[in-house]
Amino acid sequence: MKSRRFANLGSYLILGVLFLVVLFPVYYGLVGSLMGERDTNSFPPALWPKNGIHPENYSKALDIIPLGNQYLTSVLQTLGITLGQMVTSALAAYAFVFLNLRWRAFWFGVFLSTMMIPFESIIIPNYLLISQWGLKDTIAGLTLPFLATGFGTFLLRQSFLSFPMELRDAARVDGAGHFRFLFSILLPLSRPSLAALGIWSALSAWNMYFWPLLATEDPKHQTIQIGISQLQSSDSDSPGMVLAGVMLALFPTLLLVIFGQRFIVRGLTAGAVK
């Protein structure tokens, strides 16, 4: 058993090194956000706050960019995209599974093909469209292109397919129309898949970078992701303040990952489609 213990020790050692390397940026982001310029701007820079804790980095970050507005924009954008995707996906998945859809294979192909087209390859016409409609710097401009998703439709379709037919027929006999059946029976019973889709949509919407960069100009209407990248190029040279902004932007997704991992994994594995 000696060799086994030795191997275990080795595992711990490798794991420990990886732990330090992988977690270091997280650590420095958090601790650095509380460090003053005397710690961060000297060389070599401090690895922990040697000259006091500086929570005012957070208020400084709030001074430089309108983080409050940007937070709200990010929240509205995320909510809009998430709810939009859930509704359009649920409706479409319902049609695919429960309705007598003509040219089903064709429509299936249409939805499938949307997943193969990288948004970056069609971002120029989208940008032109949104500017032409005067929707730059609006929540509409930030959300509209993403209100439907092939991935979400297939995710919910998988879940609907496993719904017992007898239950559905019973509901129909009871006089429940399509709408009522979908929203008051089917969706509540598909909660885990819906949650997986929701978390997945919310994470990608919150973290979006390229599109909000193009679709907004006024700092007041930018999302927080753009905001923090502007912090970095602002005139101030206080890394602590920049990192404070990062921590603020990170907070919601950090909570999601720590407490919603179960659902994320479900979305990921169903996302084997993507």
Partner: protein
Amino acid sequence: MSSPVASTVGAEGRRERWIAIGYLLPALIVFGLFIFWPLVKSILLSVQGTDILGNPSGFVGAVNYTRLFSDPDFLQVLWVTFAFTVLTVIPSIAIALLIALLLQGRIRGVRFFRTAFALPFAFSVATASVIFGVLFNPASGVLNGILSHLGIDKVQWLTNPDLALWSVSGATVWMQIGYNLLVLSAGLGALPEDILEAARLDGASGLRLQRSIVMPLLTPQLFFLVVVGTIHSLQSFGQIKILTVGGPEDRTTTLVYSIYEQAFANNNSNYGYASAQAMVLLVIVLIITALQFGVLERKVFYR
């Protein structure tokens, strides 16, 4: 493509057909406006010139495309894109696999480690890039600080043309680890317990033996990660914009960054030329996706 719908006939059936279309409609409208129409428009833009305001200035045929492939800068863009993809996809999967396998062993505090290692997944490309920007700072960055303790001179992480792509790739690998780890851990968790147990009882606690038994069973996940990771890398933009703006000497200008530069940076509005590049991106992604569906198709969709 079977569906559990009882076939209905007559007026009732026709009505339901319309209802069905109605249910698809919201998604179809979004797709039509923001995916299919832009796709057509991209193709149209790519065969037109562009005036100084960004308006299409008339049909030019394949000029934008011939310009692309005769432009040595664009060949470099393709090379950088390829190198970036290789430098990010393979290491991020390898490291995640190593962590996943180590966590599969009988290790104390597995739950803690698992959550900790998944944390990078919470970082957006912007948050992670800004942090790495601080770490890479040549004058007062922590990375150079640590190196100085080891007696190593300051490294120009992002401005040395031979190093910048490696640095950006390193940051990207970090961003990818969390996701890859979650997928691989889920895959490992779904493996039959008796197989894992047998592997352990046989004394296969070392990485080498575990690898020979467990890894083949993870092939679907690994294949999936290679495909998804490749597509993801091809689409990468934020880290390049934030860390290097495509430099030094365009050595970190990938295809997507080049599209951005041609269309939106430096007062460029070369929508025609940029659209031609966008079509190249589309074709590359389509090829990779086709490859994926070729292998995974039956498994995932058609049951």
